[in-house]
Amino acid sequence: MGDLRIKGGYVYDPLNGVDGDAMDVLISGGKVVENVGRDAKVIDAKGKLVMAGGVDVHSHIAGSKINIGRLMRPEDHRKDVVPRTRVTRAGVGYSCPSTFVAGYRYAQMGYTAVMEAAMPPLGARHVHEELNDTPIIDKTAFTLFGNNHFTLKYVKEGDLEKLKAFISWLLRATRGYAVKIVNPGGVENWKWGKNVGGLDDLVYNYEVSPRQIVTSLAQANEELGLPHTIHLHCNNLGVPGNYETTIDTMEAVKGIKPADGRKATVHVAHCQFNSLDGDNWMNVKSGASKVAKYVNANEHVTIDLGQVIFTDTTTMTGDGPWQFRLWNITGNKWVNSDVEMEAGAGVVPYTFRKDNPANAIQWGIGLELALLIEDPWRVYMTTDHPNGGPFTYYPTVIAWLMSRQARTDIMREMNKSVLRRTTLPNIYREYTFGEIATVTRAATAKALGLKDKGHLGIGADGDVSVYHLDPTAWRPSMYRDLEKSLARAAYTVKGGEIVVKDGEVTATPLGSTFWVDSKVPEKLEAEMMKEVEADFDKYYTVGFRNYPVEDAYLPTGIRVEARGRWAR
Amino acid sequence: MSFMLNGVGIEDTFAEGFGMWGARIIITAKNRKWANIAAREMTGFATSVIACDCEAGIEREVPPEETPDGRPGVSVMVFGFSKKRLSASMLSRIGQCVLTCPTTAIFNGILEEEADDMLDVGASLRFFGDGYQVKMRMGDGWGERQRFWRIPVMEGEFLAEAKFGAVRAVAGGNFLVMGESEDATLEASERAVEAIREVPGVIAPFPGGICRSGSKVGSTYAFLKASTNTPFCPSIKHTSPDSQVPAGCNSVLEVILNGLDEPSVMKAMASGIKAATEVEGVKWVTAVNFGGKLGKFRMGLKDALGVK
């Protein structure tokens, strides 16, 4: 691959303090460099918007959950079919895109790295098989820990050391990247058809509380020095009044000392679904301002939005009891999938409607969170694809963030008295391009500890997006142009290779899969393994030695070392 | 000023009409008997909004081939001062008098395209079904779109169309028939009412279509809104200072009409007056008005009868 000069674009690179300067970005050997050869290929980016490739901190693109979504929704695929081209494979899109199409469409929007946010360990091999069929973008997968038998066991025993050893081993065994927690304790209880109602409910048989699970995992996570904080789907998701649980949860991990190099100790995922105020779906209102107030005052918290889009989509979470509840609310088809000893999942199709008061409020909450949380380094743009809506709507969400008029125009189609149950109509803030670059790239990469991503400094990965948009001439009234240009990048460059030109995919390299290698002392690990193996033989249906994901599934794997005190 | 019709003097004046909201309900039943019973019940105590909640009357009997369900029917019309009051009256009257009446069903009598608004009577009526009501739909994507409610009742099911067309209607069409005797005047008025029945879109809400006690606005008694129509009472012709009863007239009856629009009311007035004048002993026909203070419609008898 030759050198590349992306010439003269308006560059937004907040990590390096570049805010719309017209400059060149030079790439050689897949990395951003200071100089390139004379024969470097030139991309004329003059008058165009240039940013690092997008980094999605939370999405569902691979593994059994999304594949159940695909499997159960032929009606969703039928409305969005993708024919093959000379370069690309055929597939389907919309809320549950096929693996190839997911890769293409992210790249077409200028995204070059996407985090699969929920990987059940037993399904890890499946996740990696799908990731290997997801072209162009780099990926990671977050391993589910919050309802794992061994997590619960070590939390119950109060053995933080073995918990750390277990986390290290399981991340390695699953080739996972982060500690994901979904409805801690609730999913285990769901295996008896029950749930937990709050932070201090107890998990059957283990007699531990969600609070203990979260704080123990957070403590272990930080002591191990994992690149990302715990990634948390709080209890009571989708339950009116749950903002209190959310704030309680944030508060619970406040005292934990963050790993070196960061201030955060918890990432609260798709916070919109967890910022509801009110007592029931009739009087539900936004709790976003309360959550935002807490986040503004507490540096140990980061969140992503889980923004709602008004469309037909497919909800899928590791939160089995919530999906059961949603099935009862909607009567739509319901898939539940419990995973022995460790996790669960549910999938239910859902349509967000402007004329549904609860949906309108949820829509408002997502944007309120984005606009009321002052520090863009701690609030990230997501739709929790496909839960709030397909990721292909990101340009629309960005338009709402950057243009009050865009918000006003859509609010006109909604019930005003309903919207008054949010503060959104009174919010005037509009994001700048620099802030957009932050919430979609720089801050997410930083939060994930992906050091070479999300920025364009020397040594950064050569992942760049160039858009047909002149940021100096753009005004918020032009939000439709913004949407159009963000949806189809002028160029997407991945590892120095042009993969998208004028919105069309031109090349389909296989991106990398990052996984975390975390170390604990060998003796500790051996002790833990002995216990794990014993329980494994008794309670799993898969042999202990057949459990870890083999190297064959990581053809483009990249090992990321944790920086805890035992790191080599 | 006046003119003659069939030898009867007609005063060149106008009936003063005023606006009301009107609706038409087709009541069907197993047979004419039950359709008529329901219609009579439903239109009872509905002569004048002076003291009734609405004005209502039977428009005509509807033969089976013209009703939506092919059963004998009766068309009734209801008039109220506002859509809200009309709706409320329809609801209570349908609820008390039709829903309760064996074998009946009700259908809207004013098509949506001809209506000024659609009253969602079914929206309230259905709750009588206590959750067991069933929405019946016709014409989705093909044919005429219609909605009904099927409400379970002890006998079987009460079928009610969900929405009823309402129009800005005309009330207060009238004429006075004056004759030399009570008999002649009554017969002439009856004939008039019969003739009016033939005119679509009009009802005469008073007993038998006829009102013997015309009223004027106000009274010597402060607590009364209306009182007997002194200028037209023959028995006090000479004691009342403003009597308008012509010589030779010993009885006066009033025919009062409400209709879906002004032309229908005028047509009905003309048919009625013509029929009345054909009776021996009728001397004089006039109409009541209040100099334009009551309503915006001035329905001249000359215009109605087509006299230049």
């Binding site: 009606e75 969703d76 039928r78 | 069933v134 019946m136 739909r137 016709m138 994507g141 044919g143 079987g156």
Partner: protein
């Protein structure tokens, strides 16, 4: 109405997919353009003119367009699929998906239709004088809504799962209906003048939906409960419409009939009705 006549030449052995045959796609085009409309055979794209003689006139708008096909099209799929207006008459049989997702106008087939005729229909009138295959007017796999409007009138018999997941509209079957008629239905009306096989109305929710059977029923599911025998006034409205506007003469015979009323499917807490005419 302007009439365009299509006469099949030698049709291929493989199914021909011809969603191009609708008033919508021919209106406003020249005959030459019509002949060039794409049709699909296996993995190849061909032209309509390769397989059909095209004569007659095209109209400005679909609503003024009559398309008449003279000849057997039993292996031609998607005829009239998605049409929104105008008339389409086929003198012969048609293949799968005829009139699928149609939104308006009239599609009239003198012969029989294969599976998925009128699937997920939204509006308009689909007449099949012969028999219809399986999944008549049904939801496509996975879709929660089958017919959402319009009327299908079948002269003959129909296969499995007719009216599956029906939400709105009418399905009239003058012959017999196979199993799972109106399965999962949640609104809409089904009338059958022939015999109905078992499992009709399985898992139906209700929402005003009913199946009226005039020619007898093989059996009623154990999850339907018998309520009463009565003469429902509301049915008279439909029957008159069937007789007077849709030419279903048999409907007139049941205006004063008594019906046995069953309600279910209680397995799903449903309130749908099965009405069976008393002999």
């Amino acid at each position: 109405m302007k009439e365009l006549m299509l006469t099949p030449k030698k049709l291929p052995d493989l199914p021909l997919e011809a969603e191009a045959i609708t008033p919508d796609s021919v209106a406003g085009k020249t005959l030459k353009e019509v002949k060039s409309l794409p049709v699909y055979v296996g993995n190849t794209v061909q032209k309509l003119g390769d397989y059909f003689d095209v004569k007659g006139e095209t109209a400005e708008t679909p609503s003024d367009q009559l398309v008449a096909i003279q000849g057997e099209c039993g292996n031609v799929k998607y005829i009239g699929a998605g049409m929104t207006a105008g008339r389409l008459i086929v003198e012969g049989c048609v293949g799968m998906h005829a009139g699928a997702e149609m939104e308006g106008g009239e599609l009239s087939i003198t012969g029989s239709a294969s599976n998925w005729a009128g699937a997920e229909m939204k509006g308009g009138l689909l007449r099949i004088q012969g028999d219809a295959g399986h999944q008549l007017g049904a939801a496509y796999r996975g879709s929660p809504e089958g017919m959402t409007g319009g009327v299908i009138v079948v002269g003959g018999d129909v296969g499995l799962e007719a009216g599956a997941f029906m939400r709105r509209g009418m399905l009239i079957i003058q012959g017999d209906a196979d199993s799972f008629l109106g399965v999962h239905m949640n609104g809409g009306e089904i009338f059958v003048f022939g015999n109905v096989a078992r499992r009709l109305g399985a898992e139906a929710k209700g929402n005003g939906g009913f199946i009226a059977c005039f020619g007898g029923v093989e059996s009623i599911l154990p999850t339907y409960v018998y309520d009463t025998t009565f003469r429902p006034d509301f049915l008279k409205l439909y029957l008159r419409q069937l007789r007077d506007q849709l030419g279903v003469e048999a409907a007139g015979e049941y205006l004063d009939a008594s019906f046995r009323r069953y309600r279910g499917d209680i397995a799903v807490g449903g309130t749908a009705e099965i009405l069976i005419a008393e002999p």
